[in-house]
Subunit: 708 residues, 2 copies
Amino acid sequence: MSAHTPDIKLLFEPRTIAVIGASHDPNKIGYKIVQNIVSNGYGGRVFPVNPKGGEIVGLRAYASVRDIPDEIDVALIVVPAKAVFQTVQECAAHGVKFVPIISSGFSEVGNLEEERKIVAYARAHGMRVLGPNIFGLYSVTPSLNASFGPREIPKGNVAIVTQSGALGVAMIGKAAAEKMGLSAIISVGNKADIDEADLLEYLVPHAETRVILMYIEGVKNGERLVTSLKRASKQKPIIVIKAGRSRRGAIAAASHTGSLAGATEVFDAIMKQCGVLRAESIREAFHWCKFLATSVLPRGAETVIITNGGGVGVLATDACETYSVELYDDLQVLEKIFSPVTPEFGSTKNPIDLTGQATAADYDQALAAAQRSDAIHAVIALYCETALFDIASFEPMIERNFRAFQAQGKPVVFSALGGEKVERLTETLRHRGVPIFADVTEAVSCLGALYEHHRYVTQPEEPVESFELDTSALEKILEAARRERRGFLLAHEAQQLLRIARIPVPRSAIARTLEEAVRYAEEIGYPVVLKVVSRDILHKSDVGGVALDLDNAHEVADAYGAILHNCRTYKPGAVIDGIEVSRQVPPGTQIIIGARRDPSFGPIVMVGLGGIYVEVMKDVSFRALPIGRQDALNMLKELKSYPLLLGVRGEERRDVDAVIEVLLRVGALLLASEGISDIEINPLIVYEHGRGGIAVDARVLLAEGGYL
Amino acid sequence: MSAHTPDIKLLFEPRTIAVIGASHDPNKIGYKIVQNIVSNGYGGRVFPVNPKGGEIVGLRAYASVRDIPDEIDVALIVVPAKAVFQTVQECAAHGVKFVPIISSGFSEVGNLEEERKIVAYARAHGMRVLGPNIFGLYSVTPSLNASFGPREIPKGNVAIVTQSGALGVAMIGKAAAEKMGLSAIISVGNKADIDEADLLEYLVPHAETRVILMYIEGVKNGERLVTSLKRASKQKPIIVIKAGRSRRGAIAAASHTGSLAGATEVFDAIMKQCGVLRAESIREAFHWCKFLATSVLPRGAETVIITNGGGVGVLATDACETYSVELYDDLQVLEKIFSPVTPEFGSTKNPIDLTGQATAADYDQALAAAQRSDAIHAVIALYCETALFDIASFEPMIERNFRAFQAQGKPVVFSALGGEKVERLTETLRHRGVPIFADVTEAVSCLGALYEHHRYVTQPEEPVESFELDTSALEKILEAARRERRGFLLAHEAQQLLRIARIPVPRSAIARTLEEAVRYAEEIGYPVVLKVVSRDILHKSDVGGVALDLDNAHEVADAYGAILHNCRTYKPGAVIDGIEVSRQVPPGTQIIIGARRDPSFGPIVMVGLGGIYVEVMKDVSFRALPIGRQDALNMLKELKSYPLLLGVRGEERRDVDAVIEVLLRVGALLLASEGISDIEINPLIVYEHGRGGIAVDARVLLAEGGYL
């Protein structure tokens, strides 16, 4: 960022605001925005700009931004696309800090060039661009509704960042209907300049914002987003709805193309790594937002289900597994807590089943018992409509208990299933902020989101180790390839790269003569492998350029001759740099480790078990770089084939630490030079615990050759 | 079933009904049931039974069922558990046909014996038992509400069968609140006698029932349920909520223990095979019920999304993939249909994006265009609240279009996201039967359920082939094992069993002398394998009881001696039946095929790729028997490792037909004799296409030894 870059806070809390393209026609967007700003009680100064001058919503309209007798922090631009660039120039001349461009007609319809030109100009003149193609923004602190969405926006603690304008406007309405107050809503549109990471800089420290919801279709500058999300999720729950997950959805969202396991898998893995909560639908996202904006954080994981119906208790138990909510299971303690309040045929096992015989008083007492016990950290309270239960007393009883749980620092969710009376009181309670749902699964899903956030927040921060790499040696290797206009490294160069990162590779040397080959083989120790080194021969095995299992000098000599003969027969003009002699490594478990620059997320690593497991079973895991040792272990644990590393059928445990070490070092290599776009070790052969692993083959692509 | 078994229709449409345990106390269940029956306008005769006599809800109460001067079709029993058996005896004496036992205190609290005694007595006397531990039943045809649930039950076309009483009562209330009419609701409780399969006999042909919803915790007599569901799903959508899916949920539901891949996987696979729609929550199930009870069936799979907001269009596209809804993609046809009604910046690709600029009239025209086109079979219509859209005209326009789509035989779902006005009109429309949702995902999920049902209904019925098996030879093998009180077959017996089913096994013979061993080896052809045959030695390889790769008579002779020596050293008293000499089969792809009697579903088959794929990756698929050839192929296609059979990395395709053949024949074997509980072929070695496969090893357990 240049020194001129304005503080993002001014976008949310401007002292002055101009609306360029303000209209006299109440049906126009350019009128509606001014009207929304004025009627929402924004405290700063507002300057409509319209060439005709006059008055708009009671404010004097200026013919041009140049005529405004004040500094402008934010200038909303509502003029037609082709007039935007000139307007931006005028704004720059006037010292405007932020230009949210409402107008559409840019990259979303293929007009990428104009968009780039505008942003480049703005940035060069110390301005930031929001949009284009947006509905504006709302910000609670200055009570600013600079949007053409609904006039009334309920104030509250949820901030929304949306890539879709139409959806954003509809979400404002939905939030009002659901009594979910907003602290901000910002439309980012084409994200030509300002993106989610910029906005988080304001929203994360923003006191009124307790939860941040993002609707994302595509990610730009993912590396920065990852860094930003990782930090943000430690402070506040970040909920993401990702659209364009399916193949067709991605086409509909005009997103980038997929990679090895499809971009969705990478997105999901990285969001999880960042502590982001991924909602499956708008409904789920809204439920989570409302709950997380109000609930206390738990002190521990022990959750208890209290129910007056066995069936819903079982459904809630299933949902706890789905949403990773841990159920307390010290049966003795549970019996002690709940047996005084549980009827004869009930159960004090978790779920605590008070049975259909339970009265409102029984239910109340069971909740009180859960409040008192230090062993219980969260409660899922379920109610099925019965004849015995006095529904009239239900509403105040639930609200009272909700407040009591909150005061105790214990999260609680409620579910009530029944007829119209139950529906009505549920709605009343919900509008008073009580987290109560008709469906048990939805109730448990909210608690699950809270626990996922809680686990991320409480998980110890892992140091990222630094590995000392000889970067000048590294760059020298890359430079050599670049000089030859190669987009990839030759096998022995790739091996040198791995050696720089101290990743074990088989002992090897390149022989230029038969004598050298035999000498190297003797030094390295039998058995050895011979392999031709030539940029002109890609599929070395297929043309007879490789010889395995060579046990003595005689066999080496024969193989040397045969390889040269085969290669010259295959391609008479091929440049042969030599014959690589390397130690033949004993068999072991094959692992694939990769690191690359993902077009949306930047540097990522992946790991999977060799061959079939990755290619056919798609059993891989991903993380954004950098990662720590625990991250690396978790990547392995996520693999379905992980038990193979622990040893199955009486086999010994493999050297998991060695795999982790290589994963970390491959990541460090990629980060050490912008010149590398892609590293793939396939296979890394791993042996029994303590015996390490060896990278037998590696493929390295260069950034220029790889992507450009 | 005995000849005396009454027609299940009488349970739903009794001419006369008795309530034994009817109470004078309006707070008692025994009063409430009589009251519900009377107030719902049941047309038949009602007889309260109470030892004190008198009048209950204006009806004469009889001291005993014996005193009732009429035949009784249904006698509800509401007396304490310990008095139930005597009451059942009295009912039998009076010729009662059905006894729904409301009372609890039976197998659900461990009192299985009393429950069994009651059912045995009832069945022996031509009576059927519903329950015990139920809330009763409701049946629309005679307007019978024989339950202690809510008095008012909305009439309609959804039948509910529930294993949980409390949940059932609450669902009645919820159905009323959601304006979802019911044609029947039956509480099956402990399912001591009558189960889902019995009830389907009435509900499937029942004209008023269009959709059947079942809440299931555990399955009894699954084999019959499978047969029944397969047939029922061809007639009407069957929606199932399965509780107790998680490990803890299963404990909470006191369900049976898991097997190889966990009972949930088996349940899911079999429900899918039966065409059943599995709902994840009560909310989802209710949405599906309402939609499927009213929607027309589609004529084809081509679905179009029409939206005025890009974001919701993308979310709906993603949901279509999740719920297997196919999107029409002939871009030329789409352009022809929709370009006249799509604004300049909109899209006629699917989703059809009318953009936020669309007016109500544009939207209406786009829907009309979709109605007219024969190329379009179903529509997902999405609306985001915008400033431009005249919300007042929305409600009648949507309802009119819904009726028009229905008249055209085209399913349609709507979604509308926005503020309170949108919420209110959505609710109004929903109560008028229009399938409209705030959340796009929920809308698409309904259409997905309809299509899943549609695919099952239209999928051609597959003939189940019969395999001629020499059952007397088969029984002889089993008999031999039983005589020796063995629960399993010896290896060569298992091989004989496979031969009976014409499943290829390696050529082999059992040698009792060294000379025989050598002779057999010469006949079979080298290389051969020698293996000890002894019921006393289980892990043959571990004790040196197996020798591989024997290439000539000399090696056979050496191995023969060594095996005998090893076995006698290991267990001096072991009975050795001989040494099996068999052809050593060449290596190929390993497959595991199993067939067993599942404790809940009866005979099932499973298949997976050998070793690691099944054991570590849990990559298996299941079906209930019998299956057809297409089923068997689908089982293979469901495997993640299926590409390995098709050939990866330049390998040839494996003999898939041979795998299917063995799958079918293993199934046929299990069905051929009740004496077999478990067959597992591990491995079946499969070769290139056309070269078949060989079952190298098989394990067979007998029914008595296996489970009893």
